[in-house]
C-alpha cells in the first residue's frame, strides 16, 4: 500500500514510517498542511494518515474537507490527541473514515490502515464469504466448515462476518468492539478474547486446522494459511 502521512511530530513520523516500511508499505510524509494537501491532490495514495493539529494555516480537518470537496475519495485515518467523543464525531463528519487517538499502539494503526485500504478494493455487494473451507452465506445467514453446518448466535455471526470480511488482515480488539458491538469505549476486560475463544470452539473443533489466529500485541487474524 502507498500511504501518505501528514504529521508534524518527528518522533511519531519516524515511528510510523519505519513501521509501515517494515510491514511492506511505502510511505510519503509531509510535516505541514499545505504540502500535505499538494501531495494528496497530485499523487494517488491508498490511505492517508492525517494529524489534526498541524503547523501553518491549514489544520487536519479543513485539509480533509478540502480534499473531499475536490472529489478525492482516498480513505483517511485521522490521528489526533483530541480524544473526546465529540472530537471524534467532528473528525468523521469532516470526511475522515476512521479516528485513532494518540497515544496509540502501532499494531492498532496498522490494522486500521489495512482495513481502510482493503475497503476501497472490495466491491460493494458480496453475498457469500469464504476462507479456506469456512463458508458464510450472507443471505441465508448460514455458516459451514466443510460439510459441517455451524450454528451461530446473531452476535457470533456478526463477529465472524467481520473477521471474514477482513480475512488475511489483523483485526484489533478495539476494532471488534467498535464494529461488532458498537462500543466506542474500552471495557477494560478481556471479554472480546472470551467471545473469540467461544467462536473458535464452534468453527474449529480440531485445533490443528486453525484459521483464527491470535496476533501478539495486536489482535486476531482469520486466514486460510
Amino acid at each position: 500500500m502507498k500511504v501518505l502521512l501528514v504529521e508534524d511530530n518527528e518522533r511519531v513520523t519516524r515511528f510510523v514510517t519505519k513501521g509501515l516500511q517494515e510491514a511492506g508499505h511505502t510511505a510519503d510524509h509531509s510535516d505541514n498542511g499545505r504540502d500535505g494537501l499538494f501531495l494528496a491532490a497530485s499523487e494517488r495514495y491508498d490511505v492517508i494518515i492525517m494529524d489534526r493539529m498541524l503547523p501553518g494555516n491549514i489544520d487536519g480537518l479543513s485539509l480533509i474537507s478540502a480534499l473531499r470537496q475536490s472529489g478525492n475519495q482516498t480513505p483517511i485515518l485521522v490521528l489526533s490527541a483530541l480524544a473526546d467523543v465529540d472530537e471524534r464525531i467532528k473528525g468523521l463528519r469532516a470526511g475522515g473514515d476512521d479516528y485513532l487517538t494518540k497515544p496509540f499502539a502501532f499494531g492498532e494503526l496498522l490494522a486500521r490502515l489495512d482495513a481502510l485500504g482493503r475497503r476501497t478494493r472490495q466491491d460493494g455487494t458480496v453475498t457469500a464469504l469464504e476462507v479456506a473451507d469456512l463458508r458464510m452465506d450472507l443471505l441465508s445467514r448460514k455458516v459451514a466448515r466443510g460439510a459441517r453446518q455451524i450454528l451461530l448466535q446473531p452476535r457470533e455471526f456478526k463477529l465472524l462476518e467481520y473477521l471474514m470480511r477482513h480475512a488475511g488482515q489483523v483485526v484489533t480488539r478495539t476494532m471488534l468492539l467498535e464494529n461488532v458491538w458498537d462500543y466506542h469505549f474500552d471495557p477494560q476486560t478481556n471479554v472480546v478474547d472470551v467471545h473469540i475463544s467461544k467462536l473458535r470452539q464452534k468453527i474449529e473443533p480440531e485445533p490443528e486446522h486453525s484459521l483464527l489466529r491470535t496476533v501478539r500485541n495486536a489482535g486476531y487474524m482469520l486466514s486460510a494459511e
Binding site: P187, Q188, V191
Partner: protein
C-alpha cells in the same frame, strides 16, 4: 445624594409617586368637568321651569298679579338664593330682589351667565331672561358661587391625596431602599468572601419566598455545585498524583534497571514489553479521568438521543455472558419494565451499564449469580438494577464507592483502578438521576435511577 438618586429603589418609588399623581389627575379632571356640567344643566332647568311658572302667572293674572306674586315670594323668602326681577317697558323695577336691571344682561331673551352687582359684590350669576307682552321683562337667576365651596373642597381633597402620595412615596422609597441595600450589602460581602476563596460561604436566606430570597437560594445551589466541582477537581488532582505515580514509578524503575543492568536481548525485550504495558495502564487511567471530566462538564448533554434502555441492557448482558460462563457465574437479564426509552447519551449509558456488570462479575465468586433488570419504579422514571451474590459492601464502603480511585477491601487482587463506579455515578448524574447501593443479602445491589423515562 448622588447615590440616593442612582439607587434603583429610589427611582422606582419616584416613578410610582409620579404615576399615582398622574392617575389622580386623570381621574379628577373628567370628574370635575362632568360634575360642573351636570350642576349647570340642572340649574338651568330649574331656572327655566321657574320662569315658565311665572309666565303662567302673568298670563292668568296680568302684570300686577305677577308683581304681587313675586313680591309675596320675595317677602316669604321662598325664593331663597334666587334672584327675581320684573320690569316694565321703561325698565323700571316693579318687583323682585334686585334694585334695578343689571347692566350686562343682553337684550335678547334666553339664558346667560354674567357677573352682577349683588349687595355691592360682583357675583357670577346664571340668568334666564323672558319677555312678556306689553314690554315687561322677567329675570330669574341663581348665584353660581353657591356651590363653589363644594368645588373648593374637591380640589383641597385632591391636593391632600397628592400630598399623602408624595410623603408615602418618599418615606416608602427610603425604607425600601434601606431594606434592599442592607440585604444587597450582605450578599455583596458573602460574594467577596467567596471570591477570595472561602467557598463554603452561603448567601443569607430567610423563610420568605420573595424574589431576592428565591434568587439567593438559587445562587446558593449554584455555589454548592461549584464547591462540589472544585472539591472534585482537588480530589482528582490528589488521586492522579497518587494513582498515576504508582505505575509511573514502576515504569521508571523498570527502564532504569534495564539501562543499568543491560541484560541479554531476550530479557531486555520482555522488560520493554512490560514497560509498554505500564504505559498502557497509565493511558487507560488517563482516558478514564478525561472521560469523567468530559461528563462532569455536562457538555455531552447536547448530544442526547432517544435510547432504548431495555435493548441496551440486553446487549450488555449478552456481551458479558461468555465471560460469566467461564467463571461459572449465572448472568441473566430480566425485563421487568416493558419498553423503556429515555433521552440520553447512548455511548455513556452503555458504558455505565457495562461497568456495573463488569464490577458485579469481578466480585462474584464462581457459582454465584448476577442479575441485571430494568424496572419502572414510577410511570415516568426508569431504573437499571444489577444485583450480585458477591461479598457486598459495608455501609461505609457504599458511601465511598463512587469516589474516584476508591477501592474496597474486596477489590484487592482484582484488576482495576477504582474509576468504574465513579463513571457510573457521573453518567447517572448527567442524566439527572442517581446511583444507589443497597444490601442484596448476600451481595451488592446497584441501582441507577433515571428520571424522565418514556
Amino acid at each position: 445624594m448622588a447615590l440616593f438618586i442612582r439607587s434603583s429603589a429610589t427611582t422606582l418609588a419616584a416613578s410610582y409617586v409620579l404615576l399615582g399623581i398622574l392617575a389622580l389627575i386623570l381621574f379628577a379632571l373628567p370628574l370635575s368637568y362632568a360634575w360642573r356640567a351636570a350642576v349647570d344643566d340642572s340649574r338651568l332647568q330649574i331656572l327655566t321651569e321657574d320662569s315658565q311658572r311665572l309666565a303662567e302667572v302673568f298670563n292668568r293674572r296680568g302684570a300686577t298679579g305677577l308683581e304681587s306674586f313675586i313680591n309675596e315670594r320675595v317677602g316669604l323668602q321662598i325664593a331663597g338664593e334666587r334672584i327675581l326681577l320684573l320690569t316694565d317697558s321703561s325698565d323700571r323695577a316693579l318687583a323682585g330682589n334686585l334694585p334695578a336691571w343689571p347692566a350686562n344682561v343682553p337684550e335678547e331673551p334666553g339664558s346667560y351667565t354674567a357677573p352682577i352687582d349683588l349687595d355691592g359684590h360682583l357675583t357670577l350669576v346664571q340668568l334666564v331672561r323672558t319677555h312678556f307682552p306689553g314690554g315687561y321683562n322677567l329675570l330669574v337667576g341663581r348665584d353660581v358661587g353657591k356651590l363653589s365651596p363644594v368645588t373648593t373642597r374637591f380640589w383641597y381633597g385632591l391636593a391632600g391625596a397628592v400630598a399623602v402620595l408624595l410623603v408615602a412615596g418618599v418615606v416608602g422609597g427610603i425604607l425600601i431602599r434601606r431594606a434592599l441595600l442592607s440585604r444587597i450589602h450582605s450578599i455583596r460581602q458573602t460574594v467577596s468572601a467567596i471570591m477570595h476563596g472561602e467557598l463554603s460561604h452561603r448567601l443569607p436566606t430567610g423563610s420568605s419566598s420573595d424574589e431576592l430570597n428565591t434568587l439567593s437560594l438559587t445562587i446558593n445551589r449554584m455555589l454548592e455545585q461549584i464547591e462540589q466541582l472544585v472539591h472534585g477537581i482537588a480530589n482528582v488532582s490528589n488521586a492522579i498524583a497518587h494513582d498515576l505515580r504508582t505505575p509511573l514509578t514502576e515504569l521508571r524503575s523498570r527502564l532504569e534497571e534495564l539501562s543499568l543492568t543491560r541484560p541479554p536481548p531476550s530479557e531486555a525485550f520482555a522488560e520493554v514489553d512490560a514497560a509498554v504495558a505500564d504505559v498502557d495502564q497509565v493511558i487507560s487511567i488517563f482516558n478514564a479521568l478525561l472521560r469523567l471530566a468530559e461528563i462532569d462538564t455536562g457538555m455531552r448533554r447536547s448530544g442526547f438521543v432517544d435510547v432504548d434502555l431495555v435493548e441496551l441492557c440486553a446487549r450488555a448482558v449478552e456481551f458479558y455472558v461468555p465471560a460469566a460462563e467461564i467463571r461459572d457465574i449465572d448472568l441473566t437479564f430480566k425485563d421487568e419494565s416493558g419498553a423503556l426509552h429515555l433521552s440520553g447519551d447512548q455511548l455513556l449509558l452503555a458504558q455505565a451499564v457495562n461497568n456495573l456488570i463488569d464490577n458485579a462479575l469481578k466480585y462474584t465468586p464462581p457459582g454465584g449469580t448476577v442479575t441485571v433488570s430494568t424496572v419502572r419504579p414510577s410511570p415516568d422514571s426508569a431504573g437499571v438494577v444489577v444485583a450480585d451474590t458477591g461479598p457486598g459492601m459495608t455501609a461505609v464502603q457504599r458511601e465511598r464507592a463512587t469516589e474516584r480511585f476508591f477501592r474496597g477491601d474486596a477489590s484487592r487482587g482484582t484488576p482495576g483502578v477504582g474509576l468504574g463506579l465513579s463513571l457510573v455515578d457521573a453518567v447517572a448524574r448527567l442524566q439527572g438521576g442517581s446511583l444507589e447501593f443497597s444490601d442484596h443479602q448476600p451481595g451488592l445491589q446497584a441501582t441507577i435511577n433515571f428520571p424522565g423515562a418514556k
